[in-house]
Symmetry: C2
Subunit: 240 residues, 2 copies
């Protein structure tokens, strides 16, 4: 009989599930908006997972491995972060069994990582599983960039996390677009190349973001810069 597992990337806003056979081939996948926030409470994850299996027509005998915010304090069950001195290859030995009696023995949560560098602390939940995938594909060394709402830059050395920095790039862009002083000029094309380059160049000067963001507005209202370029400049300021 073929062995299968169901991998679930259960994040804050979305969940993505992949049914994988013993050779690593993906047999089926499913994505929906039933992320941690939409599930809405610890006691509702069991039903949400049962619904996912039903939707994907996956039997209850298939082991389930979940990563992401499902293992946070606001998720199904809080799983402590691993220290970054633990190699990614050892993640399988640190899976946390789900305590819920309905799922005992069949369902595990991948722990996130915590990295301490002097006084600075950074954390991830979910990205460690992507990093293990990179390691499995042979990328054991070098920088990996995981863009998104919270972009992460991770330096791997021999399959160990050496450095980890998270940037709230996507979240800040969304906030500035949704309301406040800049939002009225955020309707343009954020991928405008010239505006993006201007933002990157300004970011390189290392001035405070609270000032450079206002200067985007000052440029537009003083007619020194085109409003249509503003979102691309902001994008460059945040990413740069």
């Amino acid at each position: 009989m073929d062995k299968k597992i169901l991998g679930v990337d259960w994040g804050t806003s979305n969940r993505r599930a992949y049914l994988v056979d013993q050779h690593g081939a993906c047999l089926a996948e499913h994505e929906d908006g039933l992320g941690m926030l939409a599930v809405g409470g610890r006691e509702r994850f069991s039903g949400a997972l049962a619904g996912l299996l039903e939707t994907m027509d996956v039997g209850r005998e298939v082991p389930v491995i979940m990563s992401g915010m499902v293992g946070s304090a606001s998720g199904w069950q809080e799983v402590p972060y691993l220290d970054s001195s633990v190699p990614l290859r050892e993640l399988p030995a640190h899976l946390a069994p789900v305590a819920d009696a309905d799922w005992a023995g069949r369902c595990h949560i991948v722990p996130g990582y915590c990295h301490r560098d002097g006084g600075a602390v950074d954390v991830m939940r979910g990205e460690e599983t992507q990093l293990l995938g990179a390691v499995a594909l042979g990328h054991r060394d070098g920088w990996l960039v995981l863009p998104g709402t919270h972009s992460k830059w991770v330096l791997l050395r021999d399959g160990l996390i050496q450095s980890m920095s998270t940037y709230m790039t996507g979240e800040l862009f969304a906030m500035l677009s949704a309301g406040g002083t800049l939002s009225s000029m955020m309707g343009g094309d954020a991928s405008d190349v010239e505006g993006y380059a201007i933002g990157l160049a300004q970011a390189r000067r290392n001035e405070p973001l609270s000032n450079t963001l206002f200067r985007v507005r000052a440029g537009v209202v003083s007619r020194s810069a085109p409003a249509a370029q503003a979102p691309a400049v902001v994008s460059g300021l945040l990413i740069g």
Copy 2:
């Protein structure tokens, strides 16, 4: 007969009016939430000003001088920015008469300032009137800090604006408190001295704000830092 003027600081969210006699004494003042956004449209400023005079029992013969966003493109009438090479003392010569026939000759708007420093542009509307007040009180030289939603640092030299930088400090703090990743930990005391000092020290290292803000969250969820201190740390990061 005593001469009087009514000065109105008409901003984005609020308006403040001061009835002043010829000796500079304040005879009456009024503040309400009928800022530019609440007035809601160019053609409604005339009525909004008439209402203010009625509320304050000020006769229509009293000259009105208005500063702030009332002179912006979204205000009553757009008044071009003065270049910062124009001394603050010359502001009275640059008042823009309100074109509205109901107010002709009796009502003026103070222009804002635009300061260009190489490629960087910054602007103000309303603060120039406060700066003129400072100059009138003898403060013709040195740094003036005008804290708020958009904090401004202004360097005066002999009553001229030499340098001007605006920081969206208050706006970013409000955004981060209202929603998103940090908001759940922003309920504490933003004036906690220790947390504020931590934020200031981090800000001094000149690291990207999108990263240092996330690290506030990482510190809390990894139990390395108390959640109650988070708002004060964020405050220090933004102000520092």
